[in-house]
């Protein structure tokens, strides 16, 4: 470097070269190498833990989905209003309608009137679908997750749905219980996180039954 340049100009030159070098190393080499390593070591995980039913890719077992059908009614925009499809286990309400390209929560506050109304509506809808009293509906069934893509529900909400799914599918309650149990995960190591049922895996297992 020409040492007769003013100090700050010289620092800018160094800064520019440093930025380019680090961008090459951290921004190009690092992600490319790590992607190569990840793809080689953990191919399934690196590509989104896709699960198949009868050879067809139906979901990622990490990303929740809506198990709904058209109600036959249209909303004010002319779009079909979707309602729960009773043949399947239902996931939680979602602020993004399980659109995996638009994750996020409702961000409604703890005293928000709209949220209060929505919770009331969900509670009635779930109670009607399952044929139980509104007070029996667990909290996760009436709250939207942070990601809008929660694949899990509480064991309580899964238990609430067993009778209805068994009835709709002509399966015994024991059979459905067993499937729920297979898709249930306890706390990691016995104490990390919360016990939960993976609805995506559970419904895939249902679909595999035919």
């Amino acid at each position: 470097m020409a040492s007769n340049l003013p100090g700050s100009v010289r620092q800018l030159g160094v800064a520019l070269r440093a930025l380019l070098v680090f961008t090459a190393v951290l921004g190009i080499v690092y992600p490319l190498v790590m992607t190569g390593v990840a793809q080689a070591l953990f191919h399934g995980n690196a590509n989104g833990s896709i699960i198949k039913v009868n050879g067809k890719e139906v979901a990622s077992d990490l990303i929740g989905q809506a198990y709904t059908m058209e109600s036959g009614k249209l909303d004010s925009d002319g779009k079909a209003i979707m309602v729960a499809d009773p043949k399947w286990f239902q996931t939680r309400p979602s602020a993004s309608d399980y659109d995996a390209k638009a994750s996020g929560g409702s961000n409604l506050g703890p005293n928000n009137a709209d949220l209060l109304a929505a919770i009331d509506e969900w509670r009635k809808a779930v109670a009607a679908l399952e044929g139980v009293a509104p007070s029996q509906v667990p909290p996760d069934a009436v709250t939207a997750s942070g990601s809008g893509l929660d694949p899990n529900i509480s064991p309580a909400y899964a238990a609430l749905q067993v009778n209805r799914v068994a009835r709709e599918r002509d399966l015994s309650v024991e059979q459905v219980h067993k499937l729920v149990k297979d898709s249930t995960e306890g706390r990691v190591l016995g104490f990390l996180g919360e016990p939960r049922v993976n609805v995506v895996k559970l419904n895939a297992a249902m679909a595999a039954l035919g």
Binding site: T23, V58, P110, N111
Partner: protein, 553 residues
Amino acid sequence: MSDTAAGLLQVGLLLACLAAVYRPFGGYLARVYTSDNDLRIERATYKLLGVDSKADQTWAVYARSLIAFSALSVVLLYLLQRLQHWLPLSLGLPNVESGLAFNTAASFVSNTNWQSYVPEAVMGHLVQFAGLAVQNFLSAAVGIVVAIALLRGFSRSTTDRLGNFWVDLTRTVLRVLLPIAVLGTVALVAMGVVQNFSGGHEVTSVVGQTQTLPGGAVASQEVIKELGTNGGGYYNANSAHPFENPNPLSNLFEIFLLLVIPVCLTRTFGLMVKDRRQGYAILGVMATIWSAFVVLATLFEVQGAGSATQAAGAALEGKETRFGEWASALFAVSTTGTSTGAVNSMHDSFTPLGGGTALFHMMLGEVTPGGTGTGLYGMLILAVLAVFVAGLMVGRTPEYLKKKITAREMKLVSLYILTTPTLVLVGSSIAMGLATARASILNTDSPHGFSEVLYAFTSAGNNNGSAFAGISANTPFYNTALGLVMLLGRFVPIVFALALAGSLARQHPVPVTQGTLPTHKALFVTMLVGVVLIVTGLTYFPALTLGPLAEGL
């Protein structure tokens, strides 16, 4: 096992992991910054950069190098976004609009990672990994080197030299951040985080609906997002997104990553000032406040106040089933006590006082344990203030770590401490005074709306990056105002901290006498906890009463 027992064990495991790495990693960091030897790859880097690695800089040159580097970083990141459509791997996304591009560039260079955009819909792969992720490394490194320069200010005497910015930066990247990031990426992918360059993978669900699963080099970015206390999500839902944080184990690992450098730097501090007890004292202050906030936030969330929360039966709005209240509260306190700002649950939907705890934790200046580097230098500056206050009480000239705290040091400390609250409170006031800015509030029907604005400016001024995300921040006002607040909130305090380092390094060490206040004992730890809480408490109390306290009490 009861929820409480499981939750406590979860916190216990986190603390055990941090304790296990505390001495080896803190010692390693001390060696990185005191070693005279350059690695071969570092020598090659210095050659490319045109830097003499043995040439130490004065505080002013150190600061100028840092500012030049950061200013160019803003420009490059801005250009990458503005030109993304014509660059490879853009996924067909258009160029980012100018206000948003400025805000995002300011945000990532200042280690804030405030995001007023939906990443999936705005940023292509190239901007993410060649722009945003690069700044996740570099802005973290910038914070660390400022802390190291301040440590040298304490440990050196009668010199005007603080070290070489380019050497410290290069060593931080090559010896600390990159190796951990490589290992952490593999660990995260093993736990289920995605790592690919797919533009979207379509599946057809069992009910016949199509869903497009997003791709991305997520694990390699997630690891440095936490390790560098950055917090900018690859996806909009951040660490609540199952592809970023798939299970309770990855959740605990991510919390560990965002705490590990700030916590272990206190060990580095103790080693560099040749008195390990000083490091334990600072760690004690950080741990005391962090623990208290974890207890408070968990209690508030488990209690579940709020009319909507009670109607639901639990505070699960905005929370993932796999994490629940405990792991969400633990993450929220850790992310706001560092300058991370990643979230695994939506703080806007927390209970009034639970969300208020997260907000107040940021207001402490993010020193418990704080961001990478920023936490340590922020806490040491508060320690100087505590020493000064103690000196006033007993009428002695205050000293800290064998350096006299004179009028010049106190002026710099005061300016440092005043900068952020000024930005936060003036910014929030202006926003509340403007109808267009008020229109961005989502929860308009309670004091919660004001909390959204206060949270936004607190997050930007303290370089946190988390949000009460209901606020629609992608507007010309917020993009500009928050962008400026982030840059000023980052670099003005850094200049004061470096000036303080320069001032301390010039001094002769004063001998420890009978009258010296011991700064490694419980009395001083208690005093410093008090200073941290009272200084910020008094500053922000009026604002807090209008927001979370009005809603929660």
